[in-house]
Amino acid sequence: MLQTGLEHIESEEAFRQALEENDNVMICCGRMGPMCLPVYDIMETLTPEYPHVAFRDMAFDEPVGRVVRDLPETAGFTGLPFTVYFREGKVVAATSSIQTMDQVTAVLDAKFAPQA
């Protein structure tokens, strides 16, 4: 299990539930490694600023990681973490490797703009 302050997705059922219950979901699938930790920290920091987004993490090496590892959108990825953004259950963006705060907020603002 990942040691972060984020809500963890630990089963495929929990994954499906997260997508069903939330319009906007950002999932960071990684390990407790140096490229992943900053992204988890960014997500924790952004949680109060983006109440319309559900921020979740997922352990890359656990069986549940398959739901991210096997996505067509992550097929060519070779850098942890794999970060996937879902809007209404569909992948709208995916990134590989470490991301900066500006890179993450750029995707959140572009893909998850609150509806008027």
């Binding site: 490229m35 900053p38 070779t78 850098g79 490797s97």
Partner: protein
């Protein structure tokens, strides 16, 4: 909107956090700002085994302990701070945030560290995370049984080439000089690996590929011969550059962009001190960053005492 502090520290790596500990313990109001996560480059270390008094820890754990210690003395720490501007030339230093908030102080400690140096060639940005990596421990297993390149010739590059030989089918080390900067025993270990070959005196031209990275192109700086190395992955370890862009034109930087300091870690600007990897120095370790943070904080305290007198 904003707050006045005695000291603002720019950077929450070991140097900045140590400065925060010392200055806050001296009962000065201190703000540590970082545009990234707490810990700076230290969080990129899976394992820290040479920090005195701590047998083994991770960069993250060590950083968090330092931050906790600083907070316990009353130091404010803001990670992922959205800094818009830093003005250090006046008697009162001003850090302006993107939301318009301003933090004013009479002393500033620049501890903004460094960032990994990029090659700046065609395809580099395109293939980050899709063939190009900066962390062997994180991403090595994606290349099990596949050919890769390692770019660089220092300790990090050669040590990581040895580590990556657990996974890769073949490793081509591509280096810009005709000799290595790594320690002799590190070079010897890398050279003794039967699955590693070396391309020396090369300038990397670019990365290409259709479905992910497929090729690294480099040119021999002496002969002009271009080599196309077929790879599935490439790990880049070519050192760091100081994170000093915000201070250009405000204080003296050397030709490498490092902040120039004296022995007390004073910069060319009164009331501005520098600590850690951002400044001109030879040895860059967590321990030397911590030492810098200590000296910079004590110098800043002395400056404030003088200024207050």
């Amino acid at each position: 909107m904003g707050t006045d502090y005695d000291i603002v520290v720019l950077g929450a790596g070991p140097a900045g956090l140590t400065a925060g500990i010392y200055a806050a313990r001296a009962r000065r109001s201190v703000l540590v700002l970082d545009t990234g996560t707490v810990g700076g480059q230290t969080v990129l270390s899976y394992q820290v085994a040479n920090y005195p008094g701590v047998a083994e820890t991770s960069g993250r754990e060590l950083s968090r302990a330092m931050a906790e210690q600083a907070r316990a003395f009353g130091c404010d720490i803001k990670a992922f701070a959205r800094v818009a501007d830093v003005e250090l030339r006046g008697e009162v230093k001003v850090v302006t945030m993107r939301d318009g908030a301003r933090f004013r102080s009479r002393a500033v400690i620049v501890a903004s560290g460094g960032v990994p140096r990029k090659l700046g060639v065609e395809g580099e940005e395109t293939f980050v995370g899709q063939g190009i990596s900066y962390c062997a421990t994180c991403d090595g297993d994606f290349f099990t049984g596949r050919p890769i390149a390692v770019i660089g010739g220092g300790n990090s590059a050669l040590e990581e080439s040895v580590a990556l030989s657990r996974y890769a089918s073949h490793i081509t080390v591509i280096h810009e000089f005709d000799h290595f900067q790594a320690e002799p025993w590190v070079v010897a270990e890398a050279q003794s690996n039967p699955r590693t070959s070396f391309l020396m005196n090369q300038r990397v031209l670019g990365f290409t590929g259709v479905k992910g990275l497929e090729e690294v192109r480099s040119v021999d700086k002496a002969t002009g011969v271009v080599t196309r190395t077929t790879v599935d992955g490439c790990f880049v370890f070519i050192g760091y550059v100081p994170n000093s862009g915000a201070f250009e034109g405000q204080m003296e930087l050397n030709e490498r962009g490092e902040v120039v300091t004296d022995e007390a870690l004073r910069t060319s600007l009164p009331g501005v001190f520098a600590a850690g990897d951002v400044r001109h120095k030879r040895v860059r370790q967590i321990t030397t960053a911590v030492a810098d943070g200590t000296v910079a904080a004590l110098s800043a305290l002395e400056y404030l005492s003088g200024a207050a007198a």
